[in-house]
């Protein structure tokens, strides 16, 4: 789904990983539906989205992916956490972990570039081994590092 920090990841995937196919959906819920169909066909899908879009996705998660035990790796670019400039992003940013917890979707947060590959790998391995969607939260400190003035 559209997101500024994730757009850089998409660019790298497009340039360096020809065996990874990407599709841009019109809405986050639709992306989870497409991902579920990909899984039925034998693929290992990832949905990449901004945290605000998780709110658009709850019915897909709770009435399709979780009850049918369809695993998807979810990579969430955080808004509304430390460093945010837009007040409209803050409520969902604060709510996202309790929402994931209440659905029983495990999640890990990465605050540093060094930790990100491990976080994504372990969440993905767990999701596909246990057939439950799992989420990686990429904090704003990671995706938009604060400018330090000296």
């Amino acid at each position: 789904m559209p997101d500024n920090p994730l757009s850089h990841v998409l660019n790298v995937i497009g340039a360096q990983f020809p065996d990874v196919h990407t599709t841009l959906a019109t809405r986050e819920e639709e992306a989870f539906g497409i991902a579920a169909g990909l899984y039925l066909g034998g693929a290992r899908p990832t949905v990449m989205l901004q945290s605000s879009g998780l709110g658009n996705s709850l019915n897909a998660l709770t009435s399709l992916l979780i009850p049918y035990q369809i695993p998807v790796l979810i990579v969430i670019s955080m808004r509304g956490d430390e460093g945010e400039w837009n007040a409209a992003q803050v409520p969902m940013g604060r709510a996202i972990r309790p929402i994931l917890d209440s659905m029983g979707i495990p999640h890990l947060t990465s605050d540093t570039a060094d930790a990100t590959a491990d976080v994504v790998r372990i969440v993905g391995q767990t999701a596909f081994a246990t057939r439950l969607p799992g989420a990686c939260l990429l904090s704003r400190r990671l995706t938009v590092p604060p400018k330090v003035t000296t």
């Binding site: 196919h21 599709t23 841009l24 959906a25 019109t26 809405r27 819920e29 639709e30 989870f32 539906g33 497409i34 991902a35 579920a36 169909g37 990909l38 899984y39 039925l40 066909g41 034998g42 693929a43 899908p45 019915n59 897909a60 709770t62 009435s63 399709l64 009850p67 049918y68 035990q69 369809i70 081994a129 246990t130 057939r131």
Partner: protein, 195 residues
């Protein structure tokens, strides 16, 4: 034609192609028309049947993937038509049972009862293989073409609501595992295969 008659015509016209069914009456009528291993019945996620079909069609280009959606469900996820048009899977066939009402939830009129045209919407998004049918004969002819000719296809079938008598007595995970095995992407056991 009623939706049940249309569902029977679809099942009779197909071989072992996968069919993804939107929740509620489209899924119930598909089950009544003939339970098949390659039927994927959704029990929720209204609006996402076409997205499920799109993902499956992208993952498995050698399979001709059929979706039975409802007009109300497709109206809930109209953006799906744009994504289907932009990804252009030639092996996706989206059939819309258009009864001009939310049949599963009490019969409230949908926008198609007031003139909204889902065939025209599909064409406006860039899907070229579209047809609207109003008879079983017309539906059969459309399916015969859509099984062979390059899509993506959108077939809008105008149907009458017909209260389903049965619901599939099948659980979500059973539906998924039976379906995946039928189309050649069987899930391995979760225990014992991972270290």
């Amino acid at each position: 034609m009623t939706r049940l008659e249309a569902s029977r015509a679809l099942v009779a016209a197909l071989g072992d192609e996968p069919i993804v069914a939107s929740l509620g009456h489209p899924a119930y009528d598909l089950f009544a028309a003939g339970d098949r291993r390659a039927n994927f019945y959704t029990w929720g996620s209204m609006g996402l049947a076409s997205s499920l079909g799109l993902g499956l069609a992208l993952a498995r280009p050698a399979l001709r993937v059929f979706v039975v959606d409802g007009d109300g469900s497709l109206l809930m996820n109209l953006g799906s038509l744009a994504t289907i048009a932009s990804t252009k899977p030639p092996n996706l066939v989206l059939i819309v049972w258009d009864n001009e009402e939310y049949g599963t939830t009490g019969g409230q009129a949908t926008a198609t009862a007031h003139g909204a045209d889902l065939d025209a919407a599909a064409r406006a998004m860039g899907i070229h293989a579209t047809v609207t049918v109003r008879t079983e004969e017309g539906l059969r002819a459309a399916i015969v073409r859509a099984r062979v000719d390059a899509g993506p296809w959108v077939i809008v079938a105008k149907v009458q609501e017909s209260a389903p008598a049965v619901k599939p007595p099948l659980d979500c995970v059973f539906i998924k595992q039976r379906f995946m095995a039928a189309i050649g992407s069987a899930e391995p056991a979760t225990r014992g295969t991972h270290q």
